[in-house]
């Protein structure tokens, strides 16, 4: 380890220091409102400085820690996305937890450490560092899912997530060991070389195939696509709402970023194998994600299914294995994250007037229009954007995914994507219908802080006027969508 390694790893190191400070603070100070506020401030400061370091200090195109990690523009793009998403989530979580009176130092510690895991996962170029990152992230998420420990559903979701997550990690690990046995190496580029050599020597690929499929299964568990999606709705429903916002966004970005890298570096010349797998998984996820969501009444379950559908879309971009495909994934995932975070921020502003619970059943949103037009308008714009209606941002995400499909002559996938878009438009419309057209129930209590309002307004501006800065954004993506093959 050299000094330069530390510079490259600085954004993670800041987060680790921040999380240790939080832990120590938790030891020396008793739980009070003041100390909680301080902890939150430490979290924010470490996140923001980590964002600063990622954007300005870390050099791109370099390896560190004996080639365990590497940073190029591609990883930096995803890192910035992940860290900025976490900033928003930690703010809405703090408000939410403060309201429920369950702020604890552990919470922010876990968020920061799982973020470190995701960052390691994104920048890994070795199957060992990748596994470390993935597990670091997952273990924190298991605890976060069951954070409201006196709530039966929350504990259930934590246990469920843990069992299934552990199983998937086991499968993944088994696959990794097979890959290691076959290629005798853990470095992505070495694996790639070794596969090429075996191809030339006509080695039997059966073992490698098995290992590869097992790894894909493990990764599919993490991003929750069909047929490895069963845990998602239950876990999303049971977890505290702000954690659900975390689940639907940040770990998925990490896993997607890694998946693209993993498929395009070590298995670069293996694309005919993974093309078919991703093809089927994409179709299945889009169809199931859209149809199963139609009858959901819990907004978190509904968003879980809709996220399965969106992941299906993203897989289309990945399987084209082209730069357009990666670009479309980057655009799509950015817009998706922005919209989902906006929606969760809005959801966390709604409470039941009588018992003070946060609203989760979509039927209880009825008549929000009369109560608070700002929130109802935001919901409408964000859901229309998720449904992919122009001129809102979501349309451009869908447009680029369809472009990458049509460019590679995947017309069947494009048509399935279109059909499922229409079905999913149905349930987004259902929420809008409940908010605007249904008779008011009159027990909604809205509680918007100034900062949440600011967050929502920024997100709305991004969603509505995306057409104005899409060109600049695409320039960034153009520069960052290149995965260097060296």
């Amino acid at each position: 380890m050299q000094l330069s390694d530390i510079k490259l790893f600085s954004s993670e190191i800041i987060l680790i220091i921040g999380s240790i400070v939080i832990l120590l603070h938790g030891i020396f100070y008793t739980n009070s409102e003041e100390s909680n506020k301080r902890i939150f401030q430490v979290t924010l400061i470490s996140l923001i400085s980590s964002l600063y370091f990622t954007a300005y200090v870390v050099d791109s195109g370099t390896n560190s820690f004996n080639n365990l990690l590497n940073n190029d523009l591609y990883t930096l793009f995803f890192k910035i996305l992940v860290i900025s998403g976490t900033i928003i989530i930690s703010y809405i979580s703090y408000n939410y937890l403060k309201d429920l009176n369950i702020v604890k130092p552990e919470f922010f510690f876990l968020i920061l450490i799982s973020l470190v895991g995701i960052l390691v996962l994104i920048s890994s170029r070795n199957i060992i560092s990748m596994y470390i990152g993935l597990e670091l992230q997952s273990i924190c998420l298991y605890i976060l899912a069951s954070y409201r420990k006196y709530d039966i559903k929350s504990s259930e979701s934590g246990v469920k997530y843990f069992i299934i997550g552990a199983l998937s990690s086991g499968i993944l690990l088994y696959g990794l060991s097979i890959i290691y046995a076959f290629t005798n190496s853990t470095d992505f580029y070495e694996i790639s070389k070794s596969i090429n050599i075996s191809k030339e020597n006509n080695v039997n690929f059966l073992i490698l195939n098995i290992g590869f499929v097992l790894i894909l299964c493990g990764l599919f568990f993490k991003i929750a696509v069909v047929p490895f999606h069963m845990w998602a709705p239950d876990v999303y429903e049971g977890s505290p709402t702000s954690i659900t916002a975390f689940f639907t966004t940040i770990p998925k970005i990490g896993a997607i970023a890694f998946l693209i890298k993993f498929l395009n570096i070590p298995f670069e010349n293996y694309s005919n194998a993974w093309f078919q797998i991703l093809y089927l998984v994409a179709i299945a996820s889009m169809i199931l994600g859209s149809i199963a969501a139609v009858n959901q009444t819990n907004i978190k379950r509904l968003l879980a299914y809709s996220s399965i559908n969106h992941m299906g879309f993203i897989l289309i971009g990945i399987l084209t294995a082209s730069q357009t495909g990666i670009k479309s994934v980057q655009l799509y995932i950015t817009i998706y994250i922005v919209n989902i975070l906006g929606i969760f921020t809005c959801i966390l502003c709604l409470k039941n007037k009588i018992n003070g619970y946060y609203l989760e059943n979509i039927k209880s949103f009825s008549g929000l229009n009369k109560k608070n037009s700002f929130l109802s308008f935001s919901f409408a714009i964000l859901f229309f954007s998720l449904a992919g209606l122009p001129p809102l941002a979501g349309f451009f995400g869908k447009l680029y995914i369809l472009i990458s499909a049509v460019e590679n002559k995947l017309y069947f996938l494009a048509i399935i994507a279109i059909l499922t878009t229409i079905i999913s438009a149905f349930y987004y419309l259902k929420i809008i219908k409940i908010i605007f057209f249904d008779k008011p129930v009159n027990n909604i209590y809205t509680n918007i802080t100034a900062i949440s309002k600011a967050i929502i307004v920024i997100i709305l501006i991004i969603s509505v006027f995306f057409i104005l800065f899409i060109s600049d954004f695409l320039e960034i993506i153009n520069a960052t969508s290149i995965i260097i093959n060296t």
Binding site: L389, P390, L402, I418, I422, F436, L468, L474
Partner: protein
């Protein structure tokens, strides 16, 4: 004059107006009045802007005018590329005319969420003007599909009893069509490498690809027009929509399909258009004759008018695909005239429904005694709808039949049946509404707002019916150009 981006001004002026409305303080007591006034003035100023556009439009020039070209997506080479020819100008004028009328007509009727109502109408105006003036496929698509959102809310919030079903059906049906259009646009884009319409016109697309692309464009436009058998969303949407919503829907949104055929399908896929012509003729004939017979059994006044627009739009598709000048000019004229007449009919129906709280035709009757002024106006609109000479309806349908006669006698013969059937249902409608007796008391004749609006429609229907060149001069060269290509 040429330096001012007048098209962009037309597009974004209503949008800015709607933003201002959202900023008006809601707690103010005169909030509703202020909002309505801002909305009305915005749309009226926009109307005068379009009149300026009409005056500075060069009628002797067949190329696109008022070109604006700004790159928005470098990556794909998508331009914010605007420009109009005579056909688009006519539709822009129709739009800017109808929107202020919609706002005036619902001045006292809309009591809930007034600011949303005005905002949504201004947004629709923005989208529609943008749509008619865009010369880039992607920009067109953005405006085309964006216009769904406001109308979904208009039907859903201020609609009748069954409004939710209707708004869903309307939205999902048209959304489906437009996504197929998007797929077609993408395929075309990857084939040609550009989405610029003027460049695409010079392109020779292979026949097989033309067929597929034509079908994908057709799916979208046929749903919008709507053509039998894609029409089922229309009666529901019309019946449930508030009067102003029906006016926009019938007056302008149905024309998007015809406009799409004229602007895209014909010039881009000429061979496929010829190939599919018999198919479209059959569908149009079914639209005309089958729907006309269907109308005879309608009891709901709004449904009756809605179905009659399907029959009238059948003539439009006949004219568009007849492939000769008379047919095309007739089709454009028929679209504008239908926009005026049906809008007027829906406004009349709206006045009736407001007074009697029923949509059932059997409950009306004897209104000539209580509402004499209304009866006169309604008479003229009905005569327009059955295309009596001297009204705009006659010019359009006559030209279309002339064009169709040139290619096939039998076809024209069958289509003429539509002209015979339309008096059956329209005059019968008039008979049941205005003659006879009713049980209502205290029915007041038209108020000043209504008189004003009704008079504008009457004036335009008669004026353009007697002197059609006023409108035809605008788009004559553009249709000529379509034929030459």
């Amino acid at each position: 004059m040429t330096n001012i981006p007048i098209l962009s001004l037309l597009i974004f002026f209503p949008f800015i107006g709607s933003l201002i409305i959202l900023l008006v303080n809601k707690k103010d007591k005169s909030h509703k009045k202020k909002v309505k006034e801002i909305g009305l003035w915005t749309s009226i100023i926009n109307f005068f802007l379009s009149i300026i556009l009409l005056y500075s439009f060069d009628k002797t020039e067949s190329q696109f005018q008022f070109i604006e070209n700004i790159k928005i997506i470098n990556d794909l080479g998508i331009y914010y590329y605007l420009g109009i020819d005579g056909i688009s100008l006519s539709f822009i004028l129709l739009t800017t005319l109808l929107i202020p009328i919609c706002i005036i007509s619902s001045w006292n009727k809309i009591k809930e969420h007034v600011s949303y109502f005005i905002v949504l109408f201004l947004l629709i105006e923005s989208f529609l003007i943008g749509l008619f003036s865009s010369l880039d496929l992607f920009i067109f698509y953005i405006f085309f599909e964006g216009s769904l959102i406001p109308l979904f809310f208009i039907i859903g919030i201020w609609g009748g009893e069954n409004r939710i079903y209707a708004s869903y059906k309307f939205f999902l049906y048209t959304f489906f069509g437009s996504l197929l259009l998007l797929l077609g646009i993408l395929t075309l884009y990857f084939y040609s490498g550009t989405s610029n319409l003027t460049l695409l016109f010079d392109l020779n697309i292979p026949f097989i690809l033309q067929i597929w692309l034509f079908l994908s464009f057709f799916a979208s436009f046929a749903i919008k027009i709507p053509m039998w058998p894609f029409h089922t969303w229309l009666p529901d949407a019309h019946v449930e929509a508030p009067t102003a919503g029906s006016v926009v829907l019938a007056g302008i949104l149905l024309k998007l399909g015809g406009y799409g055929f004229l602007r895209f399908s014909l010039p881009l896929f000429p061979e496929a258009s010829v190939f599919f012509t018999p198919f479209i003729f059959v569908l149009s004939l079914i639209s005309i004759i089958y729907i006309s017979i269907l109308i005879l059994s309608q009891k709901n006044i709004k449904k009756l008018i809605a179905y009659s627009s399907i029959a009238h739009m059948g003539f439009v598709t006949l004219g568009i695909f007849s492939g000769n000048l008379e047919g095309l000019q007739g089709a454009v004229f028929q679209m504008i005239s239908h926009g005026l007449i049906t809008a007027a009919l829906f406004l009349s129906a709206g006045s009736l429904i407001d007074r009697m709280q029923t949509k059932n035709i059997d409950n009306f009757g004897g209104l000539w005694k209580q509402m004499p002024i209304f009866s006169v106006f309604f008479m003229v609109y009905c005569l327009g709808a059955i295309s009596i000479p001297g009204t705009t309806g006659f010019i359009g349908e006559f030209l279309i039949l002339l064009g169709v006669f040139k290619i096939n006698f039998l076809l024209a013969f069958l289509a003429a049946f539509g002209i015979i059937l339309s008096p059956c249902y329209i005059l019968w409608l008039y008979n049941r509404v205005c003659f006879g007796n009713n049980n209502y008391k205290d029915i007041i004749d038209l108020n000043n707002n209504e008189k004003f609006i009704f008079f504008i429609f009457l004036l335009l229907i008669i004026l353009l019916g007697v002197y059609p060149n006023l409108l035809m001069n605008i788009y004559e060269l553009s249709t000529n150009k379509l034929i030459i290509n």
